[in-house]
Symmetry: C2
Subunit: 351 residues, 2 copies
Amino acid sequence: MAITLKDIAEKTNCSVSTVSRVLNNKSKEFRISEETERLIIETARKLNYRPNELARGLRLKKSHTIGLVVPDISNPFFAYVSHLIQRYAYNSGYSLILCNTDEDIELEIQQIELLRRKGVDGYIILPVGTKQEHINELLTHNKPLVLLDRIFHDMNTNAVVVDNRKGAYQAVKHLIDNGHKRIAIIQGLRNTSTNNARLGGYVDALKDNSIPIDERLMVGNDFRKENGYIETKLLLKIEEPPTAIFTTSDLITLGTLQAIAEEGKTIPKDVSIVAFDDIDYAPYLMAPLTSVRQPRDLMGQIAVKLLIDDIESTGTSKKEKLVLDPKLILRKSVFNLYSHKDEFSAVYSGY
Amino acid sequence: MAITLKDIAEKTNCSVSTVSRVLNNKSKEFRISEETERLIIETARKLNYRPNELARGLRLKKSHTIGLVVPDISNPFFAYVSHLIQRYAYNSGYSLILCNTDEDIELEIQQIELLRRKGVDGYIILPVGTKQEHINELLTHNKPLVLLDRIFHDMNTNAVVVDNRKGAYQAVKHLIDNGHKRIAIIQGLRNTSTNNARLGGYVDALKDNSIPIDERLMVGNDFRKENGYIETKLLLKIEEPPTAIFTTSDLITLGTLQAIAEEGKTIPKDVSIVAFDDIDYAPYLMAPLTSVRQPRDLMGQIAVKLLIDDIESTGTSKKEKLVLDPKLILRKSVFNLYSHKDEFSAVYSGY
DNA sequence: CATCCCAGCACAAAGGTTTGTGCTAAAAAT
DNA sequence: ATTTTTAGCACAAACCTTTGTGCTGGGATG
């Protein structure tokens, strides 16, 4: 079927090894005559030879493939980062095997297992975050690996994350500065580094401003839309409802928007919102969203660079933990309770 | 390093072939004693044996991998479809190699070439659409393949698309029904099946209602945000500006929204919009978007099913071309010029 | 007792590469 | 004329599986 080195060898009356060397640009190194070289290259082109990467990978113990494990590629934030990762990886000569975990830790374990069988050269993982033995396993076997977005603090590995605590702190502080005291947080998946840090920033900001912590305002348990929808519905019905909600992911925000629309409330008049993940549509929503923007361009790029450095240094490269700064983008989803006007800083960020 | 069949064979004093057969559940078929079977399975488990899929793939001529070629995974529509594809593929035992073409035909050709080298078992391609020889090449070599979203009409292959002409027709008809006569279309990449069909629907709707075609209102040339932004800016400045814009992709819409916001106009009062691709955020935008929804859940699922049927039938399965129906979702981005009120049909679709 | 059968496994090839080593013939050196 | 060098390439192993075929020893059969 497919053309192999052997076919070329037969056509040219050379040995397979000679053909291989010529096609791998090792003609000089092995003193192969220019005539032979030309002949081989020519017939390879004519036969439309295509190296079999499986065979190469087997022999070379290198697949030129990296595994990308994300919770949910349909989440715009992950989709954006994945796009960049794909591009940088491709430009560096690597393909990407895409795995969705759907925030299911068992699925994550399975998918990583599969990636090992496939012999990927390295892993970029946005872990679910509730278990880590399987990832430790990779590390003890010296598999090149970089953690992205979420992190395990006690793990010695490459990682690229945003300073979630700082981002959350800024978000909540901004609400406080605008006079809000009943501030709710809709959390993502509990006990993930991301959620812990965002929750931490929330709590810190309240404490620093002597605002009592109210457990009833600290709701939610995963990063999806439904979570945002349900929790917002409930929040709007409690006794002393919040005047502001801090939503900790773009999908949560989507659910929150839906709930607010359904209840006939308006943003920011009835309820203020600060979101995490500054999606592209944020400026053009019902109320242009004030939100915490992650440096998503950098994240993908750095992750790939760290990973490929690790792969190609064969274990000699230092592990780096990079913490990037988030940035609060002010728009119009926060009501200023002091001036009774829209956002005190009316800087319109058109993205 | 990694445990191989050979290692297990040595530990158990069996031959490699016996180990292979046991681990592939062929003990009975090859009359291997239960004792040996247990021993092998046990030590495989103890040593944490992991089959090398590269070697398997080489031997079996099957990689259990499919190549997914998309124009841009960061586009929410493609991201959503990709997520589904990944899930169905995984559940059927296939991994996904993800390729972005960035709407660049040369990149598409390169990526497909690479996929062939990697020995993928099949392809799901959302082609750029400006060249097709490289895809024909795959077909003549009997590679399982399904085209998604965009199509080549003269190509005998599996394909899943939406009826773009009908969707566009409905969209424009809806504008006409609301009294609009100056209707612009911002096109995507010219000469792609998708764009041709959407443009066709636009033209048909105008003709059927005796509205003259105005070339100045038929602008745009790719599916990205920047295109929507620039063209909208220009459209708003021409002599007799349009009262309505039909945007032919979600990213174009995003750019259009940005331009309209910048110009200080409001939707739908100053300009009406009907969009293609009903993104999740559509109901919660500045003006809840009236838009054409594609059956994106079905598209991914069907594509995977067609492909895997083709792969596993080894060429005996018929090629299917499926055309799915789009649906116009009415919200509030169209101004009724007759009644001077918001959308005559005020059905609010909360998605 | 000789023959046959069959359970139970091993051998080796094949799949397409890469690569260390070895071989041959011609050219150069002595 | 004999030895040494070197250009130019071939051989075979190795990577890890899978699989067609063949081998062996013990029990049953005649």
